[in-house]
């Protein structure tokens, strides 16, 4: 418990440390004092013994002179009675006259006592009648136990003083440390414990410590609280702002009509919003349940187009745009922007442009379609011809141009009216379309002038066969209402392209051939 207190209490620790120091010092002082007292006591005793010897010396001289054992014993008895004398030996000319006292002390060899200061008193005894003549000697051994007792007595007082000093210092130290250090610290600690620092509450200073280290500590703590509160406030505000922003973006992301998604290099979709699911016509469970599915799976037939675009985006590290037909549905179009995020990740933004795309396609179709017959018009023909010529230049593929002019159409118009003429034109167009292959292009380029573009033609036979069939079909009477039918014919010029054919050149050839058919009596075709 004491060890715990020393570990946990400053006051206890300081007190024990100071007490140990005082005790150590006390012991050193005590040892010193003991030594000094012992020396002084020995000296005192020695002097006392000398005095004692002086008083009996003359008698001693006589005893030695006469070798008088009686007298010597008498003297010895007197000396030994003195409590500072342990033992006495009186000799006369090497003969022991008298010996007595504490035998044990007497028997201690002289060498052993030599270490002690003035262990014994030895004096030669002179003849009473001749100061120069030694007639004997005395050896006087002091009683060390008396010295020890005396020393112990004087040390006892010093020890008591030291103990009192230690007690006073101990209590004083504990009191001072508790009063000046521990208690203010404990107070601060207690307050700090209950302090609601997050509210900006400040630590109150213990009274009397305003200007010392504890005051400094409290001030520093308060300054720190202020600083932290300020930082905390800023941080909180920033976090709120960020949350709002994030919410905003999340809302935008979640509710946008625009599909937003990220796709890695292997085409896996790593993130997407609800619009993405709508635009790409896929359910979330489907997408999530199938981690191996890629965007290419969703692209279907357009996968290669998408792959190319993504690759170019990755390489150029720039945005890449494409219009994208979804899920093999011709009415669904997306405008897709791919942005480079990093080498592994692209971000896609897709908008539904079906409406615009369809309108565009419709307008295009309208612009290249003859409104009366539903087949191509001149613009459409020009476009298609130009494309075919271009393709021919590129890959050497050949095509045929059939140019056809109706015979006797003016007459039908004049006889039965424009409406009837129109009906004839529609009927002819229908005939042409049914006769031609699906891939062939049919257009009306003038009032009663039609053209056919037959691509992938190797030789003229296919064109000739078609021309013959057309001549036959067109000759058939055409019902123009009210049980009346009209008959028309056709003059056809055929031109076959080669690798070097130009637009104008091939038209001119077909035109010339057609002219010859007309000159030749109509209902016939010529090769140009």
């Amino acid at each position: 418990m004491i060890i715990r207190m020393i570990k946990t209490r400053l006051a206890a620790r300081s007190t024990v440390a100071i007490l140990l120091l005082v005790a150590l010092l006390g012991m050193i002082f005590l040892a010193l004092a003991m030594r000094i007292a012992s020396n002084q006591e020995t000296e005192r005793q020695y002097r006392q013994l000398e005095g004692l010897l002086n008083t009996v010396e003359s008698t001693l001289q006589i005893a030695c002179f006469l070798r008088d054992q009686e007298l010597a014993n008498e003297l010895l008895a007197g000396l030994v009675q003195n409590n500072t004398v342990a033992a006495v030996t009186i000799t006369a000319d090497d003969q022991v006259l008298a010996q007595g006292g504490d035998d044990s002390q007497l028997l201690v060899p002289e060498e052993q006592q030599a270490g002690q200061h003035r262990a014994e008193l030895v004096r030669p005894i002179y003849s009473p009648f001749d100061d120069a003549k030694v007639v004997g000697g005395i050896r006087l051994i002091p009683d060390r136990s008396v010295i020890r007792q005396e020393v112990a007595d004087s040390i006892f007082f010093i020890t008591i003083l030291l103990l009192v000093q230690m007690a006073v210092i101990g209590v004083g130290t504990a009191f001072i440390v508790v009063r000046l250090v521990t208690r203010p610290i404990a107070t601060i600690s207690h307050r700090l414990h209950r302090l609601k620092a997050e509210t900006g509450e400040q630590l109150t200073l213990p009274r009397g410590n305003e200007n010392d280290e504890i005051g400094q500590l409290v001030n520093d703590v308060n300054a720190m609280i202020d600083y932290l509160i300020k930082i905390l406030g800023t941080e909180r505000q920033l976090r709120l702002q960020r949350e709002v922003e994030e919410k905003k973006f999340r809302t935008i992301f979640e509710n946008a009509e625009t599909a937003i998604f990220q796709v890695d290099e292997s085409g896996h979709i790593t993130s997407f919003n609800p619009a993405f699911l709508r635009h790409f016509k896929i359910s979330e469970t489907n997408l999530r349940g199938n981690p191996e599915s890629t965007i290419y799976d969703l692209a279907g037939s357009q996968a290669n187009l998408l792959r190319e675009q993504m690759e170019s985006c990755r390489q150029k590290r720039a945005n890449s745009e494409l219009e994208f037909n979804v899920a093999e549905d011709p009415t669904r179009w997306l405008h897709l922007i791919l942005s480079y995020l990093d080498d592994n990740l692209l971000q896609g933004v897709a908008n539904d442009i079906s409406e615009r795309k369809l309108a565009e396609l419709d307008a295009e179709r309208r612009a290249t379609t003859d409104s009366l017959t539903g087949i191509g018009n001149r613009a459409g023909f020009d476009n298609r011809l130009a494309r075919l010529v271009r393709q021919g230049h590129q890959n050497g593929q050949r095509f045929a141009l059939l140019m056809m002019d109706l015979d006797f159409f003016k007459e039908v118009n004049d006889t039965y009216g424009h409406q009837a003429g129109d009906q004839v034109l529609v009927a002819v167009a229908t005939t042409l379309r049914s006769a031609a292959r699906k891939t062939d292009y049919v257009a009306r380029v003038g009032g009663d002038e039609f053209v056919l573009l037959l691509d992938n033609i190797d030789n003229e036979h296919q064109a000739i066969r078609l021309a013959e069939k057309l001549l036959e079909d067109i000759r058939k009477p055409i019902d123009i209402g009210d049980g009346v039918s009209a008959s028309v014919g056709a003059s056809i010029g055929i031109a076959l392209s080669d690798r070097r054919s130009g637009v104008d050149e091939i038209i001119k050839r077909a035109d010339a051939a057609m002219y010859r058919s007309k000159q030749g009596g109509r209902n016939q075709f010529h090769m140009g």
Binding site: F65, R67, D68, E70, P128, F129, D130, D131
Partner: protein, 155 residues
Amino acid sequence: MVRRLFLILALAGAVGSTNVVQESMAQEDDGLVLIAHPESGIKTLDRDTAVNLFMGRFTKLPSGITALPIDLESARDTFYLQLVNKRLPEINSYWARLVFSGRASPPRKVDHVEEVLEIVANNRGAIAYVPRSVIDGRVVVVADLGALMEKITGL
């Protein structure tokens, strides 16, 4: 220190006593001599032996005969002053201390010179002091106190 002071006093005393002896010698011209029986076996006696015999330390003469020291009452004062440089009260006090021990006894006191000579003549172990002028053939002189004194002062 004390001892040294004592020594000085003793020397002063010795010088003083020398004066006394010289005065008495001047008056009587007759110094004390130590005498013994002709058959005592001793020819001369040195001071130490004389002191030991008269102060009771030795009980036998150097020749082995039991010693019988004799004090001449009238010359005691001079004799002890010359022999051990002490006054009579000191000598008396010395013997007084030995009263109970019985180890040694003081010389036999004799009042007249004639009686001294008589005793010495009749005892082989007797030893005594008398003025040089009174000695006769019955005794022999073994030491001259004046000569012994010279030794002391020579010390």
